[in-house]
Symmetry: C2
Subunit: 331 residues, 2 copies
Amino acid sequence: MEAAKQNESRRVLAVDIGGSKVLCGVVDGTGQVLCSQGEPLDKDTGLDGLMSAVRRCGERVLQQCNPVKKTQVGIDAVGATVPGLADAKRGLWVYAPFSGLSDIPIARMLSEMFGAPAAIENDVNACALAEMRFGACREVRDFLWVTVSNGVGGAVVLDGRLYTGAHGNAGEVGHLCVEEDPAKALRCGCGRDGCLEAMASGTGLARRYAEPGVSAKDIGARARAGEPKAREAMARTGEYLGRAIADCVNILNPSAVILGGGVSQDFDLFSDALVRVYRARVFARANPDVRIRQTALGYNAALLGAAALGLDVMSSRIEPNRAESIKSRGE
Amino acid sequence: MEAAKQNESRRVLAVDIGGSKVLCGVVDGTGQVLCSQGEPLDKDTGLDGLMSAVRRCGERVLQQCNPVKKTQVGIDAVGATVPGLADAKRGLWVYAPFSGLSDIPIARMLSEMFGAPAAIENDVNACALAEMRFGACREVRDFLWVTVSNGVGGAVVLDGRLYTGAHGNAGEVGHLCVEEDPAKALRCGCGRDGCLEAMASGTGLARRYAEPGVSAKDIGARARAGEPKAREAMARTGEYLGRAIADCVNILNPSAVILGGGVSQDFDLFSDALVRVYRARVFARANPDVRIRQTALGYNAALLGAAALGLDVMSSRIEPNRAESIKSRGE
């Protein structure tokens, strides 16, 4: 009970930086989002514009959370997620795919901006952290997180810890080849053909459906309304995901696979096809009872991941290296 | 210097139990095989016959190692590798594929037989341990080991530790599907078609070559002599391996991939094809400079893995659980 109360009394500012908007929330130690605010980002916003938007959005949510005194609510830490490549230990946003910015000391900048220690992580990895702390994987030590959105990304949790690989890029499930047929394989942003990201992302789904102006979300709505072409397009999404997930499961031998991101909101429309192809390709004897599920955290997964990062800064669960880099900011 | 001497003075009995023979060696702490002996196994040998062969082979090598006194050399520990499924923590040989035996308390049996603490591991995992302790991966914290032999198996080392997955089956690279074409896909022992094991193992190579009585080793010799059909068959082995390895690298983001097992002795005959397909499929930006190499440990990899297990029993590097299960044998 005491621990639960302590968790409730913690306040972190969670910042989810996306390609087209910033989302800020005040989150307590139990994962309750107490308040949240969004701020759109111009496509061509540079670093100054981005950081101004983060400041405006963050200050607004801190005030919203403390309406009586008309001042900002106090926070214990800041956690932020960024798209692209992040070096969590050094607090660096290594590469920002939309703007092309690189090597931004974003953790230090946020720490100075909001007067609290800050930690950052790649948005996909952060979703896995959220799943571990607040979601379905609190008791699961080995799982794969897959974001299916405009792109497809993955994060790997092994032995209860985020595993990021030798170069920080483990779980790049989006670049598994899932379409060998040159007549069907779409060109991927990475330059190769038939990658999961090219075939099964929201963008890939819309390209396969091939009606100008019709988005992945529209296709989901049409499939729900029973349109055969849309239902077929959604089923193919499931087949591609099933294939890639089976390969990942064969290699990682996890207990669960959790899907998040916008396209995963239509999980029910493609899960039958996913499971059918998965079952045909997985080495079942070695991988019994792998749960494949849509996240229960919905669109808040990355924001809650940012909150988890902030809470980690406060607690001793933080890795020594990260603690050091945070400490060194005070010099 | 002192540590090096201490390593040299250690003696472990390494036992490599295979499908058709037992190999025993006395190995020192630096990985020097001081003596070794083999003993063939009848295909239908039950557990008693197997353990008798292990005893004969082990006693012979212990005497060989101490010829002056005509007694057995003293050993500090026993390490053993077994084919099939092993539960290293509990010292159990869970499933022996050739004999169909299951749940054999093999570590306890070996400990009683040779009067020293014993540890066991699956043979493929043990090869990865050997590579970490004695091979090319002493400084590598993240790598994939692939055994290409009568079957194909894999072992995953992450953050400097053997990662075995939620059910002890991580790295099952042999059951990745690498041949989609039904006309070419061979049936795998797991019941599915086109698995890496079915296509690229020694058995798969011989099936593809399709001349009665011609083994994988013979095909290697013919390829070396320049026979086009054999060269083509070897190149296909490389293509299948390249495809599976690229998928593994995309998911695991390792620093190195090490190939062992009988077929890997012909690495030079298929490495060009392997690297070509690997490069076409890997997400290169996320995975720069992955070294793909044939093991330098040769046919001794599993025996040295067994030695590494024995050395681990002696040192504090042993996992607490394993130490407990060893202690409990003394009750």
